[in-house]
């Protein structure tokens, strides 16, 4: 049974990986690659704002991951308590729809909703309830102070519902007998949630988080469409940073260099996954996520 999976992995994943050797070459896709040792990596690490972009990526990515997962779990747990099936379906469908909006469209809508003008729904609301003065409107997406907050908010809006899909499926797998037994023991709603439901999803939560850690460095589109010249200090992540570098370089991409960056990102992801997997093994009696 493992043969088809093995073949697919070999053909579509491992075969192209011979290309990783380009990371140690100068290769622009025209002439044969020329071995240049660690030059690409040196160039990458010597980029002026490399480490700033690196830490921005880690922080934004991890916080985003934890927030959206936490929201998804909480929403799933309470969705699970809804008795009326039709209502549940409607709510579930509504909250999952934002996932299907492209990031470009999302950015356009939220820059309107968060605008510091009378068009901006959020600012208008804050002014009307008296939290802000008429002239104190906040430029959420245009200020370094608020940008990340807005970014997380938009991500929660967009991805929470989608993530509940997997948690709802997990919850539906819980054996009903457990709840019956708990009821007999006198456990209330909260007791059941805490002692049966939550432990059942804990495994999935851990898996989802660790799996996503592998992709932490890949953050690009959502940050790219929401950032602007004024907030790059806090908003510039590694991928967007590299993008601006290439875009302003006046030359075509050097595949040796881009492969080196890709390799670096993979190694970071790998380290994060391995470390967290080790840690999860301790929590989950010796079994890692795979």
């Amino acid at each position: 049974m493992f043969l088809p999976v093995f073949i697919f992995a070999c053909v579509f994943n491992y075969l192209p990986m011979i290309g990783i050797r380009y990371a140690f070459t100068n290769y622009n896709g025209i002439k044969e690659p020329v071995f240049n040792g660690f030059e690409n990596f040196q160039r990458m690490f010597s980029m002026v704002n490399f480490w700033k972009a690196f830490t921005n990526t880690i922080v934004i990515s991890v916080v985003k991951l934890l927030l959206t997962t936490a929201f998804a779990v909480v929403v799933s747990l309470f969705l699970n308590e809804i008795v009326n099936l039709h209502f549940k379906k409607v709510v579930q469908t509504i909250i999952y729809l934002p996932h299907f909006m492209s990031w470009v469209v999302t950015a356009s809508i939220f820059s309107l909703i968060l605008a510091p003008t009378s068009h901006g729904l959020v600012n208008t609301f804050l002014v009307n309830v008296g939290i802000l003065g008429e002239d104190q409107m906040i430029y959420f997406l245009g200020s370094t102070k608020w940008w990340r907050f807005a970014y997380y908010l938009i991500n929660i809006w967009k991805e929470t519902g989608w993530q509940t899909v997997i948690f709802m499926a997990t919850l539906s797998g819980i054996n009903t007998e457990l709840y019956e037994a708990a009821s007999i023991d006198g456990a209330g709603r909260w007791g059941k949630m805490r002692y049966i439901t939550f432990p059942a999803v804990a495994n999935t939560i851990l898996t989802v988080i660790i799996l996503n850690l592998a992709k932490v460095m890949n953050l690009f589109e959502s940050a790219f469409v929401l950032q602007n010249d004024a907030v790059l200090d806090t908003a510039n992540v590694l991928e967007t940073y590299i993008y601006y570098q290439t875009f302003n370089s006046g030359s075509i991409p050097n595949y040796g260099y881009t492969t080196a960056i890709g390799l670096f990102k993979s190694i970071v992801g790998c380290v994060l996954v391995l470390v967290c997997n080790q840690w999860s093994k301790k929590v989950r009696d010796g079994r890692g996520i795979v």
Binding site: P4, L15, V91, I109, I113, I166, L211
Partner: protein
């Protein structure tokens, strides 16, 4: 007394979800309203100022949309089935805790999720396999997704060990156990992960963009993308501005998922009857 308590909770819970759904709907509402509104205004509106279907008419008047739609259905169905097959088989291997080489296999798969060869080598491999410019590339290439495979393994892990033991006692081969016990026990997992694959296939445009240069093989998403994104800007048509057409296209992209999800949700019904599977 207990019953009353539940209803108070249910009411509060329900109200919170109504509020949440409304908040989430606000940005979507703007797209929906704008898609029906022939009058483009920049701000948020509760209702269209000048109601009209011209935006949708413009999207559907395109006589070249039916072929991409068929391609989307074909690739999504074939791709999802293939991907689910790979995913469940791989996951089943991963729960064979005593199998020699299991750890190697696990790491072998995990490695593919983290490392990749980059754009050019991938293209060269696909080209050497003569997959470029065929629909096979968009079906086969994304089919093995280790992320989903591991999630599937996670679901399989939740199947009570007693079931496997009784299957063994009944003399079931691993294959028979897989088909008679694992798959029927995992309807919710199959539905949710199948949905994830279906969404990936339906929404795919990156693989089309990079590996297919013959636009006769483009899918629906590729076609509609042009209407909502930069290069192929929609023109004002009759009484609809480019904004109306664009928003109509966005709604058309979302629509299939809005329709499909409620049907899948019946597999997410709370609780699994373990006894039924044992039969």
């Amino acid at each position: 007394m207990k019953k009353k308590k539940i209803s108070v909770f249910s009411v509060v819970n329900g109200l919170i979800f109504i509020l949440l759904a409304l908040i989430i709907l606000v940005p979507m509402w703007k797209v929906l309203v704008d898609s029906f509104d022939l009058q483009t205004a920049y701000g948020m509106k509760l209702w269209p100022e000048k109601l009209g279907l011209a935006g949708y008419e413009s999207v559907f008047s395109n006589p070249t949309l039916s072929r991409p739609l068929i391609i989307s259905f074909v690739t999504t169905i074939c791709g999802t089935l293939l991907a689910l097959a790979l995913c469940t088989m791989g996951a089943y291997v991963l729960i064979q805790w005593d199998m020699p080489g299991r750890t190697f296999f696990a790491n072998f798969l995990l490695f593919t999720m983290i490392f990749n060869g980059g754009m050019i080598p991938t293209y060269l491999v696909l080209k050497a396999l003569h997959l470029t410019n065929t629909l096979l590339v968009v079906i086969l290439f994304p089919a093995l997704n280790v992320y989903n495979l591991v999630l599937m393994r996670n679901f399989f892990e939740g199947i009570p060990a007693s079931l496997f033991e009784s299957a063994k006692l009944d003399g079931c081969s691993p294959m028979q156990t897989f088909i008679r016990i694992v798959l029927p026990m995992s309807k919710a997992a199959l539905a949710s992960i199948g949905l994830m694959y279906a969404v990936t296939y339906w929404n795919d445009y990156t693989h089309y963009k990079l590996y297919i240069t013959d636009s006769r093989w483009y899918n629906f998403q590729m076609k509609l993308r042009g209407m909502t994104m930069g290069s192929d800007l929609p023109q004002a048509v009759g009484s609809a501005t480019e904004n109306t057409v664009k928003n109509a296209a966005i709604i058309v992209v979302i629509l299939p998922f809005m329709i499909a999800y409620p049907f899948l949700q019946k597999y997410f019904v709370k609780g699994v009857n373990v006894g039924a599977v044992k039969e």
